[in-house]
Amino acid sequence: GGIITQTPKFLIGQEGQKLTLKCQQNFNHDTMYWYRQDSGKGLRLIYYSITENDLQKGDLSEGYDASREKKSSFSLTVTSAQKNEMAVFLCASSILDRQDTQYFGPGTRLLVL
């Protein structure tokens, strides 16, 4: 088994602020993902990284940057937080040839004042 750790658990930011979310996994998975979850909109893919030196944009990449520091860690940066923004950011991982089976972390809850 393994675990995905996301930090921080809660994040309160100010409008225009640059905010960084971190994700660590000990599954030894090659592929990692960042999703945004909004009520009524499901899970939308922001960025993913197929292997350690790879970075791919998802459907919702505008306004975000991502960095795969090493195989076990994947960070997401909100480049300029939007006022009244409220969402949950979920990190996930999978083995390289099984992207259809993903393991999720508990999420980071963002609130922008």
Binding site: Y33, Y35, G40, G42, R44, L90, R98, D100, Y103
Partner: protein, 112 residues
């Protein structure tokens, strides 16, 4: 345009009843359909999945019914328990090596 659609958005059933969650998709080349279960404050977790070569997959009280011709599937939760109260996401993939496309989810509440 949403590739994977789910209905209803929310569903309330009594303990012991069968909850039926619906999912439909646009792209006929999708061939793998997992359902994820998410409890409040947690990330989603894989619950049950089906490949397009099958029309039914059962795991305990959870059953997926799949209709390839109509591009529809449903998740049945029989003998619903209060502990089944969660949000359920239908997802789809082109193959094992391709990423998932998620629906918006169905929030299920099971009343004791």
């Amino acid at each position: 345009q949403q590739q994977v659609r789910q209905s209803p958005q929310s569903l309330t059933v009594w303990e012991g009843e069968t909850a039926i969650l619906n999912c439909s998709y646009e792209d006929s080349t999708f061939n793998y359909f997992p359902w994820y279960q998410q409890f409040p404050g947690e990330g989603p977790a894989l619950l049950i999945s089906i490949r397009s070569v099958s029309d039914k997959k059962e795991d305990g009280r959870f059953t997926i019914f799949f209709n390839k011709r109509e591009k529809k599937l449903s998740l049945h939760i029989t003998d619903s328990q209060p502990g089944d109260s969660a949000t359920y996401f239908c997802a789809a993939s082109y193959s094992a090596g391709n990423k998932l496309t998620f629906g918006i989810g169905t929030r299920v509440l099971v009343r004791p």
